[in-house]
Amino acid sequence: MAIAGDMAVTKERFFALVNYVFLLLVMFVIAAILTAAMSLQYLNGELPCPLCLLERVAMLGVCFGIMLNFRRGFSYQNTGFSLLFAIFLLVVSVRQTLLDIYPRPGHAYIGSAVFGIHMPVWSVIIALSLLISFAIKLAVLGGDEYLRSAEVTEFPAVKKTADILSVCVIAICVINLVSVVLQCGLGECHTFGYKLLQ
């Protein structure tokens, strides 16, 4: 009886660990995507358009919900915060893709293509991947109490990695803020150049 009880606890702990590792992976992938986008901006001089910037904000919003799970314990409310911005990312990226899908004067996908796909289309893929991965996670792990009862501090390596990644995400957001101030000032954003540096 005691052995069966121990096995149940071990299984629940394992699922809690899978949950935290999943969240960590999502945050890592988003941080990598944003870093790649910023590299293209600063190294190739490809200034982001307003909708591209909103897509970056949406990805940071997804990270916000995940980060709260690591700071204050797992909660489905935090998952809801992430899903809100994942849906927003999908809406913005689909609208941007449709905006430039038909060649017209003054309308074309800006920036370089990565593996033949431009950023708005990548954003659609990213948003759908986020929604599908959260759906699969909910289907597999469910909404059981044990995910909430297991604190992230029980897994020190995950906690330490999450802390480092959280600081990276905050740094990415602040760098984007400074960049937007230089590019747009307090007005509308354009891709002609950095307004405050001209």
Binding site: P50, L51, L53, L54, V57, A58, L60, G61, C63, F64, M67, L68, R71, R72, F81, L84, F85, F88, V91, V92, R95, L98, L99, I101, Y102, R104, S166, V167, V169, I170, C173, V174, N176, L177, V180, V181, C184, G185, L186, E188, C189
Partner: protein
């Protein structure tokens, strides 16, 4: 406007990191509302409104 969106998101992330949950959630909600407002502003065209006539593919329909 974009500066406000990113500023509120930055503050939300920082507040979330230091453990001020309700302040973080409030700033997060403000960032979401500002983002939606800015998105609607950006996609609105005085000529077409929110429509996208260039992707209407019906037979005989004209672009304008």
């Amino acid at each position: 406007m974009m500066v406000a969106v990113l500023a509120t998101m930055s503050l939300a992330l920082i507040c979330g990191y230091i453990g001020r949950r309700w302040l973080a959630v409030t700033l997060f909600a403000a960032s979401l509302f500002l983002s939606v407002g800015l998105f609607l502003y950006e996609i609105y065209s005085p000529e077409y409104g929110f429509r996208m006539p260039w992707i209407q593919t019906g037979t005989g329909q004209r672009l304008a």
